[in-house]
């Protein structure tokens, strides 16, 4: 598991903000800029994936049914 995959949404979003602040400052060298842009793109894809997973359609489950299903699946 890579570092970005283990990140939560809030960690990734905070890191993206940090990256953009660094880039906006204009103090990053060319190599650092390219590395930060690449990292930021990866993190934004992660955030977008998280948002996508809670944005398609609400799925409502009943706990008792879920527990019963889990009990049935348990050998």
């Amino acid at each position: 598991m890579t570092e970005s995959q283990s990140m939560t949404y809030e960690t990734a979003a905070a890191r993206v903000e940090e990256i953009i602040r660094r880039l906006d400052s204009g103090e990053a060298s060319l190599d650092e800029t390219l590395a930060l842009v690449q990292e930021g793109k990866t993190l934004i894809e992660l955030c977008a994936g998280e948002l996508e997973s809670v944005g398609a359609a609400l799925e409502e489950l009943r706990l008792d049914e879920l527990v019963a299903r889990l009990e049935d699946e348990t050998p």
Binding site: T8, Y9, E10, A13, V16, E17, I19, I20, L23, L30, T33, L34, L36, V37, G40, K41, I44, C47, A48, E50, L51, S53, V54, G55, A56, A57, L58, E59, E60, L61, R62, L63, D64, L66, V67, L70
Partner: protein, 470 residues
């Protein structure tokens, strides 16, 4: 209950009533309600003791309930009487201001509001006096349990759990038919959240509630994918919310690995569940907003904007390489402009001596013109000065002559006479004649006259020739 006495003595009602019924009536309900009030008010006034709960003030009266383990009764106090009770309670002899949970003794009697066509009837024990008997057992017991949980560190465990900003799965324990369910769904919809919602329906009031909620919490934790759990119910009296002060429930929540958001009752009510949960909210709506910490729609827009900014930064970082030829061309232009500027400067320097001579010549001509003009001005000045001096001298001479003429007229006359005395013409006029040569030279000797021979004799009036005779 027997029929109220006033109705029993009334006349037979006009409506025949239910056929076959042995009961009296039917009586108009208003008359019956009024008779009921008279009957209830006739009961003996007494003192009651119990726990004060659900205290609330209306415009004219203060309402509460008096409860113990076997029953309860609704109570009402006129505002005037309540103010007197508070005044006494706040004094030195008072046992404290009455609040919910206190054990109190009340004095009064039964009363009944008969209602009307537009208002509902209600029974109440009309309280005329109240005395605080001590802190209620219920609140005291809850407070003891809160202190015990705090001493064990159980009030802090949930607050140390990280609360996810964007959970994929949320578990909710609430009444299946309660309004809290709709409020949570509406709040999640407003957040733009549409993940997985696991409903754990359980009773949220009465003695069955706490064990059912404990069981549901355990099941939610066992499911594994639930990242945050909400326990919610609407408002109620403190007694209604007692199940959320259950010790087993509170210990279960404290030790749960999933953060629990409590939303029980209103903001004025605080149960032990509020103390042990990770987050305590006043309403189910707030609980849902706490479970999903961001507005998902706005977060999607912000992610899109952030991606665009990153693209811009990446493009700007690469742009300098693409613009190298342009930069080289600009450098060449700069060099060309620099050479032209140097050439112009050299040309200016080469023209400098000639320009200098021309400037000097012009300056000398100017100085010459100025000198000539100055000389002319000086000559003219001296000429004028000389003229003025000559005029002055002339005037002085004239003045001197006039002065001399004025001062020496006699001397002049004397001189004139002297001159006239020496004039030869005066001698000729006296009869003398002058001998002259033909050329007019005076001949003053006889020898000379003989030598000349031809003579001229000048008289006063004329000259006549003469000859010397041998």
């Amino acid at each position: 209950m027997t029929t109220p006495a006033p109705l029993a003595a009334s006349e037979t009602p006009a409506d025949p009533g239910i056929p076959g019924s042995a009961l009296a009536g039917p009586f108009p309900v208003g008359e019956y309600a009024a008779a009921l009030r008279r009957q209830l008010r006739s009961f003996a006034h007494v003192q009651l003791v119990g726990e004060l709960v659900n205290l609330r003030a209306a415009r004219a009266r203060v309402y509460f309930e008096l409860r113990d383990g076997t029953g309860a009764i609704s109570c009402a106090v006129w505002q005037r009487d309540w103010d007197q009770i508070l005044a006494r309670a706040g004094g030195a002899a008072g046992g404290g201001v009455p609040v919910n949970g206190m054990q109190v003794v009340i004095a009064g009697g039964c009363d009944f509001y008969p209602g009307s066509a537009t208002s509902s009837p209600s029974f109440s024990f009309s309280v005329t006096d109240l005395r605080v008997a001590g802190e209620g057992d219920l609140l005291a017991r809850i407070d003891r349990l809160r202190k015990a949980l705090d001493a064990e560190g159980l009030l802090e465990l949930q607050r140390r759990l990280p609360l996810p900003l964007l959970p994929r799965t949320i578990g909710v324990i609430t009444g299946e038919s309660g309004k809290a369910r709709d409020d949570i769904l509406a709040a999640l919809h407003r957040r733009g959240w549409a993940g997985r919602l696991v409903w754990g329906f359980a009773p949220v009031q009465d003695r069955h509630a706490a064990p059912a909620i404990v069981r549901a919490l355990g099941d939610l934790a066992a499911v594994g994918e639930v990242e945050v759990a909400i326990v919610a119910r609407g408002g109620g009296s403190l007694a209604d919310l007692l199940c959320f002060c259950d010790e087993t429930l509170c210990r279960t929540v404290a030790l749960l690995g999933v953060p629990v958001i409590a939303s029980v009752g209103h903001h004025t009510d605080r149960t032990l569940l509020d103390d042990v949960a990770a987050v305590s909210c006043s309403t189910p709506t707030h609980a849902a907003e706490a479970a999903v910490g961001i507005d998902c729609r706005r977060a999607r827009a912000e992610a899109t904007a952030a991606a665009a900014r990153l693209r811009d930064h990446g493009r700007r970082a690469i742009q300098p390489r693409a613009s190298l030829p342009v930069a080289a061309s600009r450098l060449r232009d700069h060099g060309r402009r620099a050479v032209l500027a140097r050439a112009r400067m050299l040309a200016t320097l080469s023209r400098a001596p000639a320009d200098h001579l021309a400037r000097q010549r012009t300056r000398l001509h100017q100085q010459l013109r100025e000198a000539r003009a100055g000389s002319r001005r000086r000559l003219a000045g001296e000429h004028a000065l000389t003229q003025r001096r000559a005029l002055v001298l002339q005037r002085k001479v004239q003045s001197s002559l006039l002065d001399c003429l004025r001062r020496h007229p006699n001397e002049l006359n004397q001189l004139a006479l002297t001159l006239a005395a020496h004039d030869p013409q005066r001698t000729l006029e006296r009869g003398y004649a002058l001998v002259q040569s033909p050329s007019g030279e005076p001949i003053s000797t006889a020898a000379r006259a003989r030598e000349t021979a031809d003579l001229r004799l000048r008289f006063a009036d004329d000259t006549v020739p003469a000859r010397v005779l041998p």
